[in-house]
């Protein structure tokens, strides 16, 4: 079988999402820095904190994931994007939705439902684009299963988020607010982001390490255990059953452990002995993920579960697993995108730089070390409620987000 199709997406699409994401990341870290005093007292559900967290999770992580998907989906699934013009419109609608939603959360949470509806429109447009694209895929794989389930979880997450916004607007609860809040976090973090990272890791880990002749059998067990855990945890919220919660978190830990083992098994089959530094940081995120899943399952055995401990675990899950994975892969994706734009038509005609030469690896190592040090500092600060440590660690995060944006921006000068 031969193939001569084109799978390249107009790079303006992923770039516009990624640039928005970098700015949102920087802004979210500044807002968190300004809320340090309140955060150190353990108050998490403050308007400005909610605004900063949504800027980080939706503005940075979701927008970057969308941009990366516009670039990766055509090549991973060998299916071109359904409609590129629609992608630009979706970008504008989602960006306006995120900005207005973050402002509403900070200043007038009751009105967040209206900007939330705009944001929902943008995300639903994205889901439609992906549905129409994946529908055309000729041969479905286990990666399709992970990515498809992640997209369903994203839809459920925004539905739950909209319900929360409705509660704030109407002042009455359709369903228990706490239950919706927990399910919103579970499906957003573990359903959408984790399953998406799992799915694309099955493509990117072998690709960046040049691994071949490995088995994909474990992937189906990863899926079965992780999804079973997600469903049980979700049911435990509805039934308020701690034993079910414990069982759900244990199953998720088993699923995640199998994923980590599978990645290790794939890496053992690699031809590229010296792995690139940004990729190593994406792999470090998997190690953090294993620790956090085991910790969550372990703490769930306690008769009285401290919300503070779970707050720390959720914070680490967001930064140590989701954000670090995205950062690691972004350091690889952006040079590739810019290289494609600048040098794709010159290859074979004149000497062109390698992808590694497009970005300064020394800076990446320093930045990622700063990120990890700040993360550890934030965990210590959250555990000890030390305001001084909070300022120091969150200051590190602000510095990182600025440097990260500059390093990514420097690629565009190459």
């Amino acid at each position: 079988m031969t193939a001569n199709h084109t799978y390249e997406t107009n790079i303006r699409i992923p770039f516009s999402f990624i640039i928005f994401g970098l700015l949102a990341f920087f802004l979210s870290q500044i807002l968190l820095f300004l809320s340090t005093r309140q955060l150190s007292t353990g108050e998490m559900r403050l308007p400005v904190v909610l605004s900063a967290v949504h800027l980080l999770v939706i503005g940075f992580a979701l927008m970057t994931a969308m941009g990366a998907m516009y670039q990766l989906v055509p090549v991973v699934f060998l299916t071109p994007i359904w409609n590129e013009s629609f992608a630009f419109i979706q970008m504008v609608v989602t960006s306006l939705g995120i900005l207005s939603f973050s402002i509403s959360l900070a200043f007038n949470i009751q009105m967040a439902i209206f900007s939330g509806l705009l944001l929902t429109c943008g995300i639903v447009m994205f889901l439609w684009q992906m549905f129409m694209t994946l529908k055309k895929q000729k041969k479905r794989t286990v990666i399709t299963l992970f990515v498809g389930t992640a997209l369903i979880c994203l839809l459920l997450t925004i539905g739950l988020g909209l319900t929360l916004a409705y509660h704030f607007w109407s002042g009455r609860q359709l369903i228990d607010h706490d239950l919706i809040f927990k399910a919103h976090i579970l499906l957003g973090f573990s359903g959408w982001f984790t399953l998406l990272i799992f799915g694309f890791s099955y493509k990117m880990v072998p690709m960046f390490s040049l691994a071949h002749h490995f088995s994909m059998n474990t992937a189906r067990y990863v899926y079965i255990f992780y999804i079973s855990g997600l469903v049980l945890t979700f049911i435990s919220f509805i039934t308020a059953n701690d034993r079910l919660l414990s069982a759900g978190l244990q199953l998720m830990a088993v699923g995640y452990g199998l994923f980590a083992y599978h990645m290790f098994a794939i890496l053992k089959k690699r031809m590229k002995k010296k792995l690139d530094k940004p990729f190593l940081f994406a792999l470090l995120a998997i190690v953090f993920g294993v620790i956090l899943h085991i910790a969550a399952a372990g703490f769930s055995f306690q008769s009285e579960i401290h919300s503070r401990i779970f707050s720390i675990i959720i914070y680490c899950y967001l930064f140590g697993w989701i954000v670090l994975s995205i950062i690691g892969y972004l350091y690889k994706i952006v040079p590739f995108l810019w290289w494609t734009h600048r040098y794709s038509k010159k290859i074979g005609k004149e000497a062109v730089p390698t992808l590694k030469q497009m970005i300064n690896e020394k800076w990446i190592v320093m930045e990622c070390c700063l990120f990890v040090a700040s993360l550890i500092g934030m965990i210590a600060a959250l555990a000890s409620s030390s305001t001084g440590l909070f300022y120091l660690a969150q200051g590190g995060m602000v510095l990182f987000s600025g440097l990260f944006a500059c390093t990514i921006g420097s690629v565009l000068l190459k």
Partner: protein
Amino acid sequence: MEIKAKILEKLQNVLDPELGINVVDLGLIYKIEVKDGTAFILMTLTTPGCPLHDSIAGGVKRALRDIEGIQDVNVQITWNPPWSPDRMSEKALRQLGFLS
């Protein structure tokens, strides 16, 4: 110099930008044929769904255009048989750190 040798020489200038190794040493070229001034290249990539699919295939076309006697270049990408690391040259294995 035989035209196929010239083609192989030119293809050594087409690098996989992720690995920094040329397509010949990577063992990506399966077949070279020249008929009536058209060069037919049957090649593969290290993985199906390689993001550099279009760039590398385009690079191969451009590299062969100035060879005397070649008016057109037809590049076909195939996944059958899939690429395997055994196809790499010793030079490529050394560059990847697989051989010392």
